[in-house]
Assembly symmetry: C2
Homo-oligomer: 269 residues x 2
């Protein structure tokens, strides 16, 4: 659901190497729609599809088979996750339209947006379904929050430097959209005036050419922002792994969580 609405808001036409729901519904509309604008039909139908996903997710969650008390306990984490993702998405939207976000803002967006819904809160939901033990929930929280942030910064790096065949995303999409990533915020801080002008001119340009995108990538590398982002990913991932203290988490689960931390943040090149 979040991804479908994301594509409507970004007017993204590609998702995982295929037409996004928004784009697919707009195409469908050119067949069935006789009046009005297919784009607007596609956007509206995609909003509804996303909402239906929201409802079906609620239904799955309510009927997951755990006892009502556990479901109720875990529903707090589910709702907190969704509220955080919405807040992060709003800050992201605001930053993209303002065309600027400093590093603390970019990191806050990363933590709220993906940190919460990709790693930290799903772990909390699982933990709260399984146990009312506060120690496990606390340990998984201290593991999940930095890992979620590391995962988002990896996603940002892949969004700028990743191979679109592997990532399934438009290679220059983040730059064209003007997405205010942690990587970009670091690059701006480290940039000299000439490098800063390259970033300001090209980030958020919907007509960005492949050659201009390459210039932006060169600045990200030459400023050392790419290296700094990679070091930040390593530091946050280490922080996550060191939260998994023996005693609080069973041995097998510990191994799995450490392998997960590496898999979620590894380079794809």
């Amino acid at each position: 659901m979040a991804l479908i609405h994301d594509d409507v808001m970004d007017r993204s036409e590609v998702r995982r190497n295929r037409a996004s729901t928004f784009r697919a519904l707009a195409e469908l509309a050119t067949g069935v729609v006789h009046s009005g604008d297919p784009q607007s039909f596609g956007a509206s139908a995609a909003i509804l599809t996303g909402l239906l996903g929201f409802v079906l997710a609620d239904r799955l969650f309510a009927s997951c088979g755990f006892d009502p008390e556990s479901v109720r306990r875990a529903s707090h984490a589910l709702d907190r996750m969704r509220a955080s993702a919405i807040a992060g998405q709003y800050l992201d939207l605001l930053a993209a339209h303002r065309g600027d976000a400093d590093e603390p803002t970019a990191r806050r967006i990363a933590a709220l947006k993906s940190g919460s819904y990709t790693v930290a809160e799903p772990l909390a939901i699982g933990a709260l379904l399984a146990t009312d033990g506060a120690l496990v929930v606390d340990v998984l929280g201290r593991y999940g929050r930095p890992l979620g942030e590391a995962f988002q910064i990896r996603d940002d790096v892949l969004g700028t430097f990743g191979d679109p065949v592997i990532t399934g995303k438009d290679a220059d999409g983040d730059m064209r959209e003007g997405k205010q990533t942690v990587l970009l915020a670091i690059a701006k801080r480290r940039a000299d005036p000439y490098q800063r002008r390259v970033l300001d001119r090209h980030i958020g340009d919907p007509e960005l050419s492949p050659r201009q995108a390459e210039q932006v990538r060169d600045v990200m590398a030459a400023t050392g922002a790419l290296d700094e982002a990679e070091r930040l990913i390593v530091r946050l991932t280490d922080e996550a792994k060191s939260a998994i203290v023996p005693g609080a988490i069973e041995h097998d689960a510990r191994d799995a969580l450490i392998a997960l931390a590496d898999a979620a943040t590894m380079r794809l090149s």
Copy 2:
């Protein structure tokens, strides 16, 4: 939440005599947004606001104070309500873009869209929270479904003939949007070729003038569609009231439900 998303999809700028959330956020955007399009910021922010409403409604529902088993039982009706409203909204969108809907389709949309979320399912949610007695739930269903439909047809009539000062809506909005109402479907069935041309030419015209809107209203009245819609409202309301058989529902509740049926479907003129 549904109303906020509704306004995004319709690009409606007025809701209850005030700027819609979509419009208000687009206006806000002209102050804070330096790049990009304020309209697109407004639409995206309104999608997020609607989703936040969705999450907060879930939170309120989960923490309503009833025991977990009752909440779980009622959550089925809550999810069915939301899925029905989404399905009805999609059929409505499709009909508006196709520019045509016959009477059975228009009635199906009315039943799914508003029938479910304004009357029938809220009653079912309340009943399922309060009791696991199948008779009460069944009786309230046979009351709520026709009443919900009658309420929607009243809404359609008010959307075309209502005083905007009382309804809080744009007086000609439904006609400009090409909303495929039950009233319009009846008018098309009863129209002679000249009257039909008036409807086809003006319904769904975003540039509809007040004089043209008046012509459409004249056709709705002259064909007898307005009278037929009023009779349909009365018949459905009577059907709802006669479902409230003594024995299944307590005396006081029965009086309140009958008063509610009248209040939800009365003329506002």
